[in-house]
Subunit: 409 residues, 2 copies
């Protein structure tokens, strides 16, 4: 068990406590998870993950999104090896940058062009900068509680952040047209853009798909104000629709932000845009030492090709539905009321009457010991490597979790 | 020649012009270089680089810094392969994160702890956030013209940036104690930190090492104000001194920012800090999807070990001196006055009486055709893979460059 005092994980935590503030930072800090969750991992393969003590899990987090084809997908890893054998970080990009940009433009409905970065937050910051450059205006509207990165302008924490860092960020409520209209009015003609997540996937609350009315109104308001509609597809991108998460709604953004799943775990982000913002995008100065690294771009190209050939989105949808149905049935058998919301490929599982997430944590801790890595408050992620047998294995672990909730509930 | 209309490079540029705004972005844009420089690269090995048309260059840019042991260093690449064969982007870090943090703490004089990111700009932004969190104050002093990244708070461009993004950034002149003191006074008790580059390496001007008086005064002023001294060692780090670039001056920062050379081209950045800022560092929220990627950390550990074993800094120093001496001799033979400034491992070569860099561009364009990749305005970088024969090869190319300057000058 990872929480045992003489485990490899606990020995590493003790060492980390000396040389890393708080032992770890950010969203991967095990302190944000129930007791018993490991901090350190040794190995991944397909939809399975092993911690440093050799415990094996059906991985339902997929590294918080990046792993979309399964850990160490052979085709992606081979593409990286082949590129790395020639060169990756050079005095300019490789030819693969052009191939990848062409692939994104061919695949993503609104995209006339692409630029590449490393972090999802690089992509959202770049998009905001382009929106301001293209409009000559300053205000950015964002939904209250939506996560767009951990930079000072959008971090969920205010520690070390100044008021001026977010002086031009104003808020509306996701899916609330009236609050959106009021927020646009409040910009008094200074609206540069509206940044909006593909769907509402805030921590610790039910997920909500965008209502068609809301999505269309975002587009209309941006058009009326000549402002940029920025779709933050960092978390959902490539799991809902290959052409962009709002394509089924018939609403196209001006700028989209991509990262996480784009290269199956290799570090890459992208902004795509339409021709209206091409000139603005060419006038800003954004760069990074590793943004042109050819290996990550080769990984992305292989990932996008493999996703198409494997029918990855259809697979994740089928397996996500199997998981959702199985969890619903198990919960019902145990007399437990669950709320499962949002796209099945990105499951959010919350317990009724669980304001402090105590039931969710009990469920997760027991399911973890039984071999499945669930999250009690954050949306989870399926990959194309999940098969029926893996989902059924996760459901066996979930059954142990529900029994633990029933016993103590 | 890369500039020929029917070259592979020019065909790629035409394709890129359709799918990337301006055909490229940032510091790797070939438009920032003299005509004839290639935009796209195919291969690197040691200190040699090949463009997509098969032209071979002695690489004096080293990817603008990251390549410190030479392209595709066997030990580093093997460490990456070994880690990638197990897993890299997982639900938490690998054990290698602890090993790397311990290595940095053991090597870097001021460091009691480390945190990891992807971009140099992530490191500087994180350090600024920690300084504000730890002091409860807001003002950050930076030297006019120093580059600390391309985020809105520090980008050299104001396009798409608002005044509020830099409301709390105030300036002094590098190496100018009086201007530094005045800048501190102007913060009126609201000083969170002073961020300072390891030495003055601004674009297009002579490099300046920090005067001992200046460095000591930065430290004194931070101590007097209980503010953070942030050393931005992103560009110079690991090339001047393994314990930190200001260690020979006897001045230790509270926080240091690292990236570029840390993993020999693999994407990684780090902030190191002392115990005074440990608590603050544990209270801020910063994170990224790929910040715990184990492969890049394995690359960093292998890079730091290989640098020690190969005596990398001594080698770069010797080869940098050989290059500087050779360039000086060639310039004198041609009756040309050069200014070579800063550490020899990071050469800056500027021509006297060359306000528009026309001579420098002519020199570089001719030297490029003769097989060496110089830069006319930006500091260059040596690697531990450069040998006498490589420097001599670069000097042969430089002789062609000087001849071109003499002919037209």
């Amino acid at each position: 068990m990872p929480s045992l005092p003489n485990s490899v994980d606990s020995a590493l935590r003790q060492r980390a406590a000396r040389v890393v503030p708080g032992g770890m930072w950010g969203h991967l800090h095990a302190a944000r998870l129930p007791e018993g969750y490991p901090q350190f991992f040794a190995r991944g393969e397909g939809c399975r993950l092993w911690d440093v003590d050799g415990n094996e899990y059906v991985d339902l987090m997929c590294s918080w999104g990046p792993i979309v084809l399964g850990h160490r997908h052979p085709r992606v890893e081979e593409a990286v090896r082949r590129q790395a054998a020639e060169g990756s970080c050079m005095n300019g990009p490789g030819a693969v940058m052009v191939e990848l940009a062409e692939k994104l433009v061919a695949t993503i409905a609104h995209a006339d062009w692409a630029m590449f970065q490393k972090n999802g937050g690089d992509a959202t910051t770049t998009a905001v900068t382009i929106a301001r450059a293209g409009t000559g205006r300053r205000k950015i509207l964002a939904a209250r509680g939506s996560y767009h990165g951990s930079m000072p302008w959008c971090s969920p924490s205010l520690v070390g952040v100044t008021a001026e860092d977010r002086a031009h960020i104003q808020h509306f409520d996701y899916n609330d047209v009236a609050s959106l209209e009021a927020a646009v009015d409040a910009t008094k003609g200074d609206l540069a853009g509206i940044i909006v997540a593909a769907f509402r996937h805030d921590l610790g609350r039910d997920q909500e798909l965008p209502s068609p009315e809301f999505a269309r109104r975002v587009r209309q308001l941006c058009d009326a104000a000549d402002a940029a509609l920025i779709l933050d597809d960092v978390r959902a991108g490539f799991r809902l629709h290959p052409a962009g998460s709002w394509e089924p709604l018939g609403v196209r953004p001006d700028l989209s932000c991509w990262s996480k799943a784009i290269a199956n775990g290799h570090p890459l982000a992208a902004v795509t845009g339409n021709d209206r913002f091409r000139e603005a995008a060419s006038t800003i100065f954004v760069t990074g030492s590793f943004w042109c690294e050819a290996s990550a771009m080769a990984a992305a190209l292989a990932t996008l090709e493999a996703m198409e050939e494997e029918g990855a989105i259809a697979r994740m949808t089928a397996m996500g539905q199997r998981l959702r149905d199985g969890l619903a049935a198990l919960a019902a058998e145990n007399g437990i009321v669950l709320r499962q919301t949002g796209p099945v490929q990105m499951p959010m599982v919350l317990f009724a009457d669980d304001p402090d997430f105590a039931k969710g944590e009990r469920f997760c801790a027991a399911a973890l010991r039984a071999g499945a890595f669930f999250h009690p408050r954050h949306n989870m992620f399926l990959s194309a490597a999940h098969r029926e047998a893996d989902i059924d294995r996760a459901l066996e672990a979930a059954a142990v979790g529900f029994a633990a909730v029933r016993r103590t509930g």
